[in-house]
């Protein structure tokens, strides 16, 4: 057995797009492969091993019955990396949490609903300790390589904690608000190199909030552009439904609008939790 670090990939509820992003790195990936032994990767290879140093885990937890497998991985791994926003934050399907599990199962499976299992969608950090989160839906391939290099060198990795606006401005892209769209860039964690605004779209918040979001600035921007409460809360909740901080931020940001929209019929995003 070589003494290279042994790397394994696992996944739970997700689209496997982050593992695909790793596969799509191409030649730099072949370079990285020279420094590690990939010992388990169901999606790409049939070899399997229970002995590994670094576990990359993609996907969120949605069923209690998946928790023991997750915990076994944690016990065997020296380091656990949450690969992408499903593992790190819950992913886009966290917004399924606004419905009762029974309603979801009945919609999907009708009168056989009771034969199937589902539960609250949560990040893997809700169940196990995570050493490094890589955010993004999907991850940024260069950040993956950077994280792996840090782990191999035994250096601490600093998770980006600036807002997407920072990277957007550095690149000199036109401000999304100026084009009449609502954007989550002011409060969303960067590291994506502002890929969505680079192509003229808005930030959907897929990397979650920065640790200390500038609520006042976000409120000012939103107020200036006159968005309704439901528009703001709905947008915030695509990737972070029921995260208390997101709820608070969305409500704070929407405060001036709330007064104006009094009396109008609230829609479901605003009325839950």
């Amino acid at each position: 057995m070589s003494n290279k670090p042994r790397v394994a990939f696992f996944d739970f509820a997700c689209c496997e797009g982050c593992q695909l992003t790793v596969l799509s790195i191409g030649e730099p990936l072949i370079e990285v492969l020279k420094h590690v032994d990939i010992v388990t990767w169901r999606e790409a290879m049939s070899e399997k091993s229970d002995e590994f140093d670094i576990a990359f885990i993609e996907g969120s937890i949605t069923r209690d019955s998946d928790v023991p497998r997750l915990k076994r991985i944690r016990e065997k791994a020296r380091l656990v990396v949450a690969l992408g926003s499903c593992a790190a934050l819950g992913g886009p399907h966290v917004s399924a949490n606004r419905f009762e599990t029974s309603e979801l199962l009945e919609l999907a499976y009708g009168n056989k609903a009771e034969q199937y299992e589902a539960g609250e969608v949560r990040p893997i950090s809700a169940e196990i300790e995570v050493d490094v989160p890589i955010y993004g839906c999907p991850i940024n391939a260069s950040e993956f390589v950077l994280v792996l290099k840090h782990l191999l060198l035994g250096r601490p990795y600093r998770v980006p904690n600036e807002a997407v606006c920072y990277e957007c401005k550095l690149n000199g892209y036109e401000c999304v608000f100026d084009k009449g769209m609502i954007c989550l860039g002011p409060v969303t964690r960067c590291g994506c190199n502002a890929i969505c605004t680079s192509r003229g779209h808005r930030c959907f918040g897929c990397r979650g909030l920065v640790d200390d979001p500038n609520v006042d600035a976000a409120r000012d921007v939103l107020e200036e552009h006159d968005y309704s409460l439901d528009e703001i809360i709905g947008m915030f909740q695509i990737y972070s439904h029921r995260a208390p901080r997101v709820q608070q931020l969305a409500e704070a940001a929407a405060e001036p609008q709330k007064k104006r929209s009094k009396g109008s019929e609230p829609w479901r995003f605003g009325s839950t939790t």
Binding site: E16, L20, R42
Partner: protein, 418 residues
Amino acid sequence: MEIRVDHVTRVEGHGNVLASIKNGEVQKAIFEVVEANRFFEAFMRERSHEEVAHIASRICGICALSHNSASVQATEKALGIEVSEQTALMRRLIMDAEMVSSHALHVYFLVAPDLLGLKSVVPLVETDPDTVNLAFRVKTTAYDLAEVLVGRHTHPVAVVPGGYTSMPDATALAQMRERFVGLREDMRTTVELLKQLELPAFERETEYVSLQQPDHYSFYAGDIVSTDGGQVAADDYLDAFSEFLVDHSTAKHCRWNRDSYMVGALARVNNNWKQLHPEAQKVMEELGFKPPVCSTFMNNIAQFVETVHSIEDAIALMDQLLARGLKEEDIPPVTKHGRGVGVVEAPRGLLIHDYTYDERARLVEANCIIPTNQNYANLDRDLEAFAKQIADQPKDDVELKLEMLVRAYDPCISCSVH
């Protein structure tokens, strides 16, 4: 003989093969799907029409472009948004990028190791770096085209109902055209490689279902046709086939004219091969593919034939777009609300997004029919027939061959349990 393969490898998602063979008789042979449901159809409800495609792409990491395309098509039909000729050309080109990237991943990385007696492509990195580099080159070139067109393959950023938030850079697109021309040589090399490989011998006649357009080989929109007869407009898919539940799967199964049917590259080539690019037809002939072909393992040859077709089609479409000149266009307005059905051919087969929007252009109902769901019943029938054919072989061989049969379908399991 009891066969149990938990979490079949080199496929997307989690599924198990279970087979029970006694005295040469197959008592059971099924593909058990254990993937967790994410309930996209339920939680996409109430989202604005501008958000739905962003979310819908995330049903699948491999065929994100297909979900994204089916989603915007459904939204456009439901809300009466008319797209421009430029957008229509872009949509077809995006599907070509999708085919090349997905088929390359499957044929080179997931299937080839079986035919070479390997467990993955990893040992080839040292023994045959040229082929590994070729495989990466084909896949990344298609990925890069998607990046130039819409920002990223997984998940696209510039696509919205009605068009694009920005158009690709003409210089970058012209460079992609040259790189696609360069892939022609890789295709010739691959033809020679494939000629040396032997696929398991197995045939079972079944029903093949795909989209069809009168004037071109379609991956985007069209009528739904079956080899058993029957042609329906996309909007009327519910009159043709239906989904149903089985006990051994968290994903639904489907049937149309008989107890199972197959979608995907094999179905498309069988149904529409006359519309393939001449170069792809030539490759088809060289590799001994004479339609109609009823061997599921030949699905992988059909995928390669389509890769050749899509490279040629992409070059032609890039030429057309560049000749017209790429123009930033305004997004056309919403003109009505109601139901719309979007249909595309994802790499794994017919994909349907069926949406209903209310007067505020918020989604009230969604139904997504995934190719892999449509193949599950057929896979079970295949597993049963193939297990019977190879019942007298050693257990390890039976196990591997049944796994290979699963892989031949290129199942996208998490996509099927959306």
